[in-house]
Symmetry: C2
Subunit: 265 residues, 2 copies
Amino acid sequence: MHESPSRWPSAPADEDRDDVPFQLSRIAGNLEALEETIIHRLVDRAQFRADRKAYQAGQSGFDGEDERSLLEVRLAHHEAMDATFGRYCDPVERPFTGGLPASRRAVTLGVTGLAVDDFDVVNRTAGILAAYLQLVPRFCPAGDDRQYGSCTEHDVAALQAIARRVHYGALYVAESKWRAASAELAGLAAAGDDDGLLKAITRPDVEAAILDRVAEKAANVQSCANSTVRQLVAPDVIVAFYRDTVIPLTKEGQVAYLLNRRRDR
Amino acid sequence: MHESPSRWPSAPADEDRDDVPFQLSRIAGNLEALEETIIHRLVDRAQFRADRKAYQAGQSGFDGEDERSLLEVRLAHHEAMDATFGRYCDPVERPFTGGLPASRRAVTLGVTGLAVDDFDVVNRTAGILAAYLQLVPRFCPAGDDRQYGSCTEHDVAALQAIARRVHYGALYVAESKWRAASAELAGLAAAGDDDGLLKAITRPDVEAAILDRVAEKAANVQSCANSTVRQLVAPDVIVAFYRDTVIPLTKEGQVAYLLNRRRDR
């Protein structure tokens, strides 16, 4: 089985209880634990310059690749490999690219408790990628160091960490809220009321707490770095990305989940 | 061109000077900047349990893979992909696996200033992998969470970060020391005096400073983490890995470089 943040860091005994993965405090803890990983990967990417050519079509250096950028080629190759290892058998792992091969590895996925027929209804990778490409020149130093291979490796690692947070939140927070208020949410979903659903799932106080925590972590993670040899990332930039991209896309995914949630269980 | 820490975070004007990549202070700065990346990747791996099955032959879940562990299969696939992107064109990037395909990407590598015919004389990946496998149960929580796919992804990321540090140090520190004392080192190398070379390149005060810095960084990187939702790694464990593995293997690589350094330039 692939990574599923809902299973960690629980004590094994907890796992036997069906409702445990959907306790909101537990889900919030798992979302919190993913913050450091996202921060680490953004800060590591920032050790290379913005390297615009890595994102331009036809500049990948691959023969005959006129349409795709190096990042697009890298994402496609990386996700094809990941797919053969069974990554996308896990509901939380949603891919950025299509046409992926089947898993070559036997993967046993436990009962998820989720109730949509297609986990990809929550897939927000297009939005994540577009926002990330806007972010790169804001958190990486300007210029071109020709380290395109390295920077796209780090991009893929960062994108996967962000996607895991968005899709874990979309699936598990939405299901948790459904279980707590299924009559209200089912009514809004049946009426196709996106705005009503968005309002019903929004918790401004929780969002504010997340942003404060991310700011503090982004500063602390870098507090011992020697800025003469290592590029620092302003915590504000990471906070703004959380505020303008990570949180809104997670909520969009939740609304999509609720609109598509099965009513028969 | 792939990542080459020697080129970062230099100002472009510096790059025109041939001797700049071999200034010891500059190399030390680049080695220092790689420490956070190693710490980040170890701490992220520790969010999964030790998962011994991921390292046992025949347990990968791949049909017909009786000899290799999941980590070995993952490393082979990952490095084959990396090779097609040109990663191993960079002297600093030495692979863990053999039989890799040629680069499919046009990679322009500048003049390195290094003077060995085969960069793989410094390759210490076998030692890195063996030591890392010993390390896993010491820095990851005991037990099995069945997250083998995720943990081996993180293993590959950690191994690559460690290898980059070891091989960058092996190549660039050794060449720098050669340039500062070529007569002495050439004499020891001509006599095949490994022990003499090891003694000549060893700087106990520098090693002690590295260990102090790594301890401080490992603590600070995790200082804001909520230990009820995120696994912490004891800084001592990372310091011991640096002391017993990273530094000795870097020096072994330096000795190998000096023994194989060309005398004609």
